[in-house]
């Protein structure tokens, strides 16, 4: 199941673990990324709380957690090569995996059609 947030994150649910990243739209808006800071494995994140930081040449931006959960894995590939976020934001350039506090929280997020409407 693929869901989206108004802050331009995507979430892919498999069981009770969600993989989270930023959308193509967000990556395009940010421009060339030069730095990514990911949360620590084991960190407790809250819905809409700060999860990660990305920097383009010009400025830093926050990436938020779409839901409450515990970080189980982070993607070192995007730390080593931030440009991966620009080339494959919704695939290989996932940010972190989250063991959700309440899987049912996912119902409250936007589906793809609703996100596409949002970005126009």
């Amino acid at each position: 199941m693929l869901k989206f947030t108004a802050e331009h994150e995507w979430l892919k649910l498999e069981g009770d673990v969600a993989t989270v990243g930023i959308t193509q739209h967000a990556a395009d808006q940010l421009g060339d990324l030069v730095f990514v800071e990911l949360p620590e494995v084991g960190a407790e994140l809250v819905k809409d709380g700060n999860a990660a930081t990305v920097e383009s040449v010009k400025a830093a931006s926050d990436v938020y957690s779409p839901l409450d959960g515990e970080v189980t894995e982070v993607n070192q590939a995007i730390v080593d090569d931030p440009s991966l976020v620009n080339s494959d934001p919704q695939g290989a350039a996932w940010f972190f995996k989250l063991k959700l506090k309440n899987v049912s929280d996912v119902e409250g997020l936007m589906d793809e059609a609703a996100y596409k409407d949002l970005i126009g």
Binding site: D32, F35, E37, V57, K58, A60
Partner: protein, 378 residues
């Protein structure tokens, strides 16, 4: 939306839109921050080939003595700038700055001897204040802001080759020469100078012909349009100051490590020693040193450290030393670069300091400027 309506545009505005530029407000103008290539590729292209920049938002000001004599205009402007303008030869340009009574910097600028007058190019954000400052203080001169000229910068190792298509004589110019030359039958004022650390030219064009000259230059396969985003990363790698960030009214030229811009004639013992605002402090600092200096800073990790980040002597953030004044990612250096002010005790190359970024103290090393090797054709 009201803000957008109030933004000014340069003569190349429609051209930027047609080239797919992402526009942002800058110093009251709607300017291109990047084109479809993106900031990284635009920066790298400029150092590899040739980049074309619209800098028409900057102020181009004519200072002409009522007597018509260059010397009178030069001596008048020397009352505001701690630089040798009288000794500047015709067809030559020099870097300078307006100082204030406290020895701080009001703006930095380029001054050209145009024979019977001076051409002064100032920053866009300070344009109006600079013109008022000159009008108020240069009583025997006419000070005219040119409102009908564009300014195009062409920078990079292939800049000469690109410009040569329009003017074969370009190879005769050396760094800081200024010539009046027809490009495409349009009379232009060209200086061999720029803000990138690369060889290049700054071309003043009558606004009615700005688009055709820009397009003619862009026709060359090596020439790409470059936005303000890359302009900033290029100048930072080159160790060049940005007024408002690295220099302002709280920084003296000596603290800013710009003492090289002052010629002997204006220093202690010189023919025209002092005679500019803040001379007591500035000449005092030349004699006795300053308490702090602008230095290059290289973050040890990958995280950019940006302006206003506080600098500390220790990794725990106990002893505050100063502040970062400019910081970004340097595509040519392949890592973050920054500049800031540190106390003299901490300005030797190799000194380690710590910058506070998002609650962490990131190690930075004091590094000699520039971060890249400039390629000026001296």
């Amino acid at each position: 939306m009201d803000d957008q309506a109030a933004l000014r545009t340069t003569p190349l505005h429609a051209l930027h839109i047609s080239l797919g530029a992402k526009m942002v407000p800058f110093a009251g103008y709607d300017m291109p921050v990047q084109y479809p290539l993106g900031v990284m590729k635009e920066h790298l292209h400029t150092r590899a080939e040739a980049g074309l920049f619209d800098v028409s938002h900057m102020g181009q000001v004519i200072v002409k003595a009522k007597s018509g004599e260059y010397a009178d205009a030069a001596l008048a402007l020397e009352k505001l700038v701690p630089v040798d303008i009288l000794g500047l030869k015709e067809g030559r340009q020099r870097y300078g700055f307006f100082t204030d009574a406290n020895g701080g910097i009001l703006d930095d600028l380029m001054i050209t001897n145009r024979g019977d007058h001076l051409l002064v190019v100032v920053n866009a954000a300070c344009k109006d204040q600079d013109v008022a400052h000159m009008k108020a203080n240069l009583a025997d001169c006419d000070v005219t802001l040119l409102e009908d000229r564009a300014l195009i910068a062409l920078q990079g190792p292939r800049a000469q080759a690109v410009l040569a298509e329009l003017w074969a004589g370009v190879s005769g110019m050396k760094f800081m020469d200024v010539r009046e030359v027809p490009l495409h039958d349009v009379p232009c004022i060209i200086s061999r100078s720029g803000y990138s650390g690369e060889d290049g030219f700054e071309i003043s064009v009558p606004e009615a012909h700005a688009v055709e000259v820009a397009k003619a230059l862009l026709e060359h396969p090596d020439c790409e349009p470059i936005g303000l985003g890359a302009r900033d990363s290029l100048r930072l790698e080159a160790g060049l100051c940005l007024y408002g960030n690295d220099i302002d009214t709280t920084t003296s030229p000596i603290e800013a490590s710009l003492e090289w811009a002052l010629q002997k004639a204006r220093k202690a013992g010189g023919d025209r020693e002092g005679g500019f605002p803040g001379a007591e402090r500035i000449l005092g600092e030349l004699a006795n040193g300053t308490t702090r200096r602008r230095v290059g800073l290289k973050p040890e990790g990958k995280a950019p450290v940006r302006s206003h980040a506080k600098l500390f002597a220790d990794a725990e953030g106990k002893t505050e030393l100063g502040e970062v004044t400019s910081g970004t990612f340097g595509p040519s250096v392949e890592g973050p670069v920054a500049m800031g002010y540190l106390p003299i005790s901490h300005t030797d190359a190799g000194t380690q300091v710590y910058a506070e970024v998002r609650g962490k103290y990131l190690p930075m090393t004091v590094t000699a400027l520039p971060f890249i090797t400039p390629t000026y054709k001296r």
